[in-house]
């Protein structure tokens, strides 16, 4: 099948590539752009490990063709920290609150939580749980992930937070 040229913005940088129409966005990101932060967990649209932000929406990049992202703005976990390496407040939250164990789900969790906080800067615990219900974690039991998101929300609201989970 003939390849199609696509142009999009990924983590603030203009990129282009040649893809088959059937190329999934996750494969374009990982294999052509070398962005291996978004993971392939289930490959069946269930786990959320492949979550990236596309034009202000959290999407499962295993369930989207790269051609559908033509002209879009994509944000992956690689685009969250500042250029000088300073962690994003969500990344800091996951570190402080022990929001990860093996880390496999973390890039998807954080990119999803990023959009959640854009839409709802002061979520309740229940709203966080509902907001990340498309992301599965096999390790943590979610408790500390919820705390990590809460930490980031508090910090963004200028509230002083006690560090480290109990």
């Amino acid at each position: 099948m003939a390849k199609t040229r696509i142009e999009l913005t990924v983590n603030g940088q203009a990129v282009e590539g040649l893809v088959e129409p059937r190329t999934l966005l996750i494969h374009f990101l990982r294999e052509q752009l070398g962005l291996t932060g978004p993971h392939i967990g289930c490959d069946t649209s269930h786990c959320g490990a492949c979550t990236v932000d596309l034009d202000g929406k959290s999407v499962k990049s295993c369930t989207l063709f790269a051609v559908q992202a033509q002209g879009s703005q994509v944000l992956t976990i690689e685009g969250l920290a500042a250029a000088d390496g300073t962690l994003h407040v969500l990344q800091e939250g996951f570190r402080q609150m022990h929001g990860l164990q093996c880390g496999f789900c973390t890039p998807g969790m954080i990119t999803r939580a990023y959009r959640l906080l854009q839409e709802n800067p002061r979520p309740s615990e229940q709203e966080i749980r509902f907001g990340i219900s498309g992301n599965l974690c096999r390790c943590t039991g979610y408790q500390n992930i919820v705390k990590a998101v809460q930490y980031a929300a508090d910090r963004l609201a200028g509230i002083d937070v006690k560090e480290a989970a109990e």
Binding site: P21, R22, S45, F65, F130, G134
Partner: protein, 287 residues
């Protein structure tokens, strides 16, 4: 899992999309949110040669009130439906259903048009559209026409859509102010399709039901409109005996598959339980 090869097309208007689908013939499929179609393509259960992406057609988006109706563009996502102030005010049932569909990521992509056109008995919107008396607006090679949701579903993955036809909008008569509504869905986990689910819209006056409509999800090859059950309830005070008769009438309509969501008998009974709960909650919300 990688889908089979196909050619990708992105029309800018409904006219262009319909012409493309007619041109490309049987091997072409419309692509909406892709969250039913792409998983099927990855499993090679669907292998279209051409995908006509409806995502670039502005006319297919948005929710608007039109006299007593609400008109929802086919490409409106479930996420947008949850956020819509028009729906919150006129048809709050749709928010209640939408938040029970899949998970946040799927709802950003999944569209109302795709959900109703897909024809999968597991989809939640079809029974809700049947309950609300929605009308589907279609465009195809022979022009435009309207089909009532109650006449649209003919079997699993088999609908009134003719080859080359697309759903452009869904027109829903808004239930009267003060109506009660509920969608009760039994599922095994977040993101699961229904084991059984029931949609109810009702009105009451002086403690008696003045109208009632019931839709049932995933307990037959098509969504079910339980009009006989609803007719038993109208005029009643929703007393225990009448509810029992109505639930029995609704259960009698079902013909669920036995699958990993449970044996058929269980799913029929769960449809009854969901209906009881939906009736109670709808009534508690009715003025």
């Amino acid at each position: 899992m990688i889908p089979g090869s196909f050619a990708y097309h992105r029309p800018q208007s409904v006219r262009e999309a319909v012409a493309m689908l007619a041109d490309l013939g049987e091997e072409a499929r419309p692509l909406a949110g892709g969250h039913s179609l792409i998983p099927m393509m990855k499993l090679r259960l669907a292998q279209p040669q051409h995908l006509v992406d409806l995502g670039g057609i502005p006319d297919l988006k948005g929710v608007r009130a039109e006299a007593g109706d609400v008109v929802i563009g086919a490409m409106t996502s479930q996420h947008e439906m949850i956020a819509s102030p028009v729906l919150a005010e006129r048809i709050p049932l749709l928010r209640e259903v939408s938040v029970l569909i899949a998970d946040p990521q799927v709802r950003y992509m999944g569209t109302l048009g795709g959900n109703v056109a897909n024809g999968d008995p597991g989809n939640d919107m079809p029974a809700v559209m049947v309950c609300l008396g929605a009308i589907f607006q279609l465009a195809g090679p022979n022009g435009e026409r309207q089909v009532a949701a109650r006449e649209f579903y003919q079997g699993a993955y088999f609908t009134a859509l003719e080859p080359g036809e697309i759903v452009t909008a869904i027109r829903i008569p808004a239930p009267p102010a003060g109506h009660g509504y509920a969608y009760e869905k039994l599922k095994r986990k977040v993101g699961d399709y229904a084991t059984a689910a029931a949609a109810v819209v009702l009105t009451q006056s002086g403690g008696r039901l003045t109208s009632c409509s019931i839709g049932l999800t995933n307990v037959a090859e098509t969504p079910l409109w339980a009009d006989g059950a609803a007719a038993l309830l109208v005029g009643s005070t929703l007393d225990g005996e009448t509810i029992k008769q109505a639930v029995a009438a609704a259960e009698a309509l079902t013909a669920p598959a036995s699958d990993n969501r449970g044996p058929a008998e269980y799913r029929t009974k769960m449809a009854g339980v969901m209906l009881r709960r939906a009736l109670a909650r709808a009534r508690s919300r009715a003025a």
